[in-house]
Amino acid sequence: MATKLKKVLIVEDDLSQKQLWNFVISRVSEHAEVDWAVSSEQALTMIKKNKSVGQLYDLLIVDLFLAGSETGLDLLRSKEVMSVGPKTILVSAIDQKNFEDQLSQELAHIKLIIKPLNIIKCENTIVELVS
């Protein structure tokens, strides 16, 4: 299932998920570089820093509820993310129906993964999005 994924940013404050995501990304793309942020604010800093040296993330994996005052939704609505429009997966424990009712129009281009996570679900969603 190799893909051309080179650079991934995972924005998640639950650090117990780190091992799972690293494993999933390594299965999808062996040499992909994975950065990790726990808040929207930290993610924005990393996106700007990378952009300044001409590097863009191929994939953003963003949890809805993060550390700090901003949410994953604030990050996705930020001009830094909107202007680049990277492929994005939103991860959350919310009900899919509520997400679809409230945000599906605005976030039509985004894939949603409902927690609890499992390796197959995460891997399939990434492959579907980036292949």
């Binding site: 809805l64 509820f65 700090g68 005052s69 901003e70 959350s92 424990a93 919310i94 009900d95 509520n98």
Partner: protein, 301 residues
């Protein structure tokens, strides 16, 4: 500075914070016609204009901008009023902010703003007036607290922590300032029949959780209407509480804690008679919808 000057006919000087709305505004209204006091009402910049339109300043009633988060501003206001009126007899620490959010939905920035507004700011004002009151050998510090200062309820953890801090410091202050003739009172408010419910600030995450019915949303969806309903049923409008505070200023009670609404008395009574190992379970079962809190994320028992 005309500190301790006797060139005026003695009229106690009262300084009140957070007069832009709610209780502070009612207190300002009730004191605006009292010829026997000199009153300084204060509010943040964006509320001061409203106060100037509502009240007429004169030689015994003044309006000033005061940001309780700004120590320099506090000292400047107190310095100015001492220059003008020569003393400070009573301060009413009323300015406050109330965030509603479960602990997981709060963040350091919101927590700090709440703590600075409800505790650190009031303490700065206390420190600014204590040397003046000590020199006068008299004074009264009235800190407006809440039933949340004696009990904590879900979605009110951060607010409750700030009011517990205020209560703890006020209790210590009661002992520290007693020898100097300075009275310290905590006026505790419970459910107030007002629109102040709508002034509650929801954190970003609390708003999003409510919108998407995420984890903890059941707390907001059950607690918010419950509190709103209790506030509407309350027999204590802000006008009545303002009158109670004026009573506290006039009678200068030596008691530290004063319940301003009947429910404060009731909650305090329950807290005292029910053993602590039972108390939390009792409230848990009394709170609306508590048996379904947690939703699909709830741990099955």
């Amino acid at each position: 500075m005309k500190l301790m000057s006797d060139q005026y006919t003695y009229k106690p000087v009262i300084v009140i914070t957070g007069c832009g709305s709610g209780l502070g505004y009612e207190l300002a209204k009730a004191l605006s016609n009292r010829e026997d006091y000199r009153v300084l009402i204060t509010a943040r910049a964006h509320k001061v204009e409203k106060l100037r339109q509502s009240f007429t300043e004169n030689d015994r009633f003044k309006i000033r901008e005061l940001d309780i988060l700004n120590d320099q501003n506090i000292y400047n206001v107190i310095h100015d009023i001492c220059n003008e009126w020569g003393r400070v007899d009573v301060i009413v620490n009323n300015a406050a902010v109330c965030y509603r959010g479960v602990i997981e939905h709060m963040d350091s920035e919101a927590e700090l703003l709440q703590l600075r507004t409800n505790y650190l700011g009031p303490m700065s004002l206390v420190r600014a007036v204590l040397p003046i009151m000590r020199e006068q050998r008299s004074g009264q510090i009235i800190n407006i607290s809440s039933v949340s200062g004696i009990l904590a309820m879900p979605t009110m953890g951060s607010y409750s922590a700030s009011k517990h801090a205020l209560e703890g410091a006020s209790e210590a202050l009661w002992y520290e300032e007693k020898p100097f003739g300075i009275r310290v009172n905590i006026v505790e408010l419970g459910f107030v029949n007002s629109e102040s419910f709508h002034n509650v600030v929801l954190s970003n995450k609390a708003k999003l959780s409510t919108l998407l019915k995420g984890p903890h949303s059941e707390y907001y969806l059950s607690m918010s209407p419950f509190i709103e309903k209790l506030m509407k049923l309350s027999v204590s409008p802000p006008r009545k509480i303002a009158s109670k505070i004026i009573d506290v200023i006039e009678k200068q009670p030596t008691t530290l804690r004063i319940a301003a609404t009947p429910d404060v008395w009731l909650f305090d009574f329950i807290r005292r008679i029910v053993p602590s190992k039972i108390l939390n379970y009792l409230f848990w079962f009394m709170l609306p919808g508590s048996l379904s809190w947690g939703g699909r994320w709830r741990k099955s028992s």
